[in-house]
Amino acid sequence: MSVAATLFRPRLGRRRWLGIVFQALCLVAGLVAVAILVLLLVHVAGQGWPLVSWRFLTSPPSQLDPENAGIWAALLGTVWLMALTALIAVPTGIGAAIYLEEYARRGRFMQVIHLNIANLAGVPSIVYGILGLAVFVRWLLGSRSLLAGALTMSLLILPVIIIAAREALRAVPKSIREAAYAVGATRWQTVRHHVLPAALPGIMTGIILALSRAIGETAPLIMLGALTFVRFAPGQWTGEYSFTPAGLWAWLTRSLDSQFTALPIQIYNWASQPDDVFRRLAAAAILVLLVVLLSMNALAAGIRAWQQRHRMW
């Protein structure tokens, strides 16, 4: 008998048994993650659902009368903030991605930019808040306004949009570009008419996911001072404005310059108060926020599924 044969004991029974234990352990770990998610959703729904009503959605917040408090100002603030953020970050992000994928030559400069974007995506959101506080609030705009919030949010989600858009552009096959160049299209015509449409579903998914990150961000807004008690929503249309270009402009600039609150801020505000009434209000507001978020995620997943069925190549 060889040495190996005497030393090696297969012990197959034990090893198989250990394998089953390990598999069960891994499954349990996965289920724990699922269970926590379910627990969180059930808890929030149980606490918040009784309070969610049309009145809750359309009433201003109130410190004195929590029974009748609502999230109208926060909801409108979030809608304004997201619309402005999308308006600023989406063109910039797509432009940057197009430059990096379609225009820039591979080289040292590109490596630096690539590393830079990857790092920006890992910078804590509160650091963006500090940047916004110093640059937009104190230096450029001089006020804790909606515009300052939107600019800060835009910088925050820009790396996410750039990374997603670059991936979508990279997935478009080279042959499409070469076909366009072959019939004499310029670089921009190639991008505008052929590459961008092909990459659009992927870019859309990235944008929605980036905005769904921005919609729940709280820390940067607190840094900008969005926690100050705001009863009225930005963009209130009052008698002093008229339906003329000048009137609309006055309304728009006033809105951009107004103080604001947002849903996550309102949630923090309520959750940080020790009274149980306010905590239930927080749960109700969370429920509204989560419904918005999950529908955005579902939309992104839907676009992704549609794209896989209608692939152009």
């Binding site: 390990f22 891994c26 996965g30 432009g95 890992g122 910078v123 921009w188 607190i222 840094m223």
Partner: protein, 317 residues
């Protein structure tokens, strides 16, 4: 002219190249667009430079008051009350303790989940598992903070340890751990799937069991990916703000008892900005000093993670 320019800028095909002016306009348009796109790309560079400039420039007044060495090694953090003291260690300790606790929760769960998904799970679970986990990452952190404060502390921790304070590090660590599970599981899953099938099959051929293949072949082969995932999760946990503000409280102290209230760097920054400190005071500049410390720590960890990740990519592609 004025009729052609908008067409040309819009990229309309009427700007055909058969007239000299049109060719010229088309070239001008291409150059203009090139410049605009370059500007877009430079925004990200400007952001980085802006962050560094603001953090350094605005923390200079603080470092005139206290030397950087005393700032980094001082053990008492009391910039808001007399006698003032600017030692950032208690904040770093609070941050470190909560981040370590978070990894204690996230690494085993994330690692096992991704091993299950890549090695054991049937196809449909594998397909659906990752997006599902990503929902965990998509939930706003303020919601986790609420959950820690209203559920984990009173319903879980206080049942087991009645002496737990209302604000405590443990509940913060648990929810931050939950929120970085997807960071770990998603990246580990990618790393495990990148391990070539042939390695697994070679092990099976010498009659290794599935457990042995998973832990002795797949895991070591994907080790650098796993390390990068853990580093990125650590950076996220260190930079996490709202959950920590709500769950761990605002008491800066050097403690290793997770059941006590503690303050992280991020929570301190929030505390000061809640108080509406006037610009120009030392309190105002401490935001930037602490922010700079936070930024430096997360930057080093992120760079390290990318280095590790690049090395891992070179192995099998």
């Amino acid at each position: 002219m004025s009729g052609i320019l908008p067409w040309a800028l819009a990229g309309n095909d009427r700007a055909r190249g058969d007239g000299g002016v049109l060719i010229y306009l088309r070239k001008a348009r291409e150059t203009l667009i090139h410049g605009v796109l370059l500007l877009c790309a430079l925004v990200s560079v400007a952001t980085t430079l802006g962050i560094i400039f603001v953090l350094v420039h605005q923390s200079i007044p603080l470092f005139r008051e206290v030397s950087p060495w005393d700032f980094l090694t001082g053990t008492r953090w009391a910039p808001l009350l007399e006698p003032r003291s600017y030692g950032v260690l208690p904040l770093i300790a609070g941050t470190g303790l909560i981040a370590a606790g978070a990894l204690l929760v996230a690494v085993p769960i994330g690692l096992c989940t991704s091993l299950y998904l890549s090695e054991y799970a049937p196809g449909w679970v594998r397909q659906g598992g990752k997006p599902f986990l990503e929902i965990l990452a998509g939930i706003p952190t303020v919601v986790y903070g609420y959950f820690a404060l209203v559920f984990i502390t009173p319903e879980v921790l206080r049942r087991v340890f009645p002496q737990t304070e209302i604000f405590n590090g443990a509940s913060a660590a648990i929810v931050v751990g939950i929120m970085v599970i997807p960071t770990i599981s998603s990246l580990c899953d990618d790393a495990f799937r990148a391990v070539p099938r042939s390695l697994r099959e070679a092990a099976y051929a010498v009659s290794a069991t599935k457990l042995e293949v998973s832990t002795r072949i797949v895991l070591p082969a994907a080790m650098s990916g796993v390390m990068a995932a853990i580093l990125l999760a650590l950076a996220r946990a260190i930079g996490e703000t709202m959950a920590v503000v709500l769950a761990a409280g605002m008491t800066p102290k050097l403690t290793f008892n997770p059941l006590e209230s503690m303050q992280t760097m991020t929570a301190y920054i929030v505390q000061v900005s809640l108080g509406d400190t006037p610009a120009g005071t030392i309190e105002y500049h401490t935001i930037f000093g602490v922010g700079l410390t936070l930024f430096a720590i997360t930057l080093v960890i992120n760079l390290l993670a990318q280095r590790v990740l690049r090395r891992f990519r070179e192995v099998y592609e």
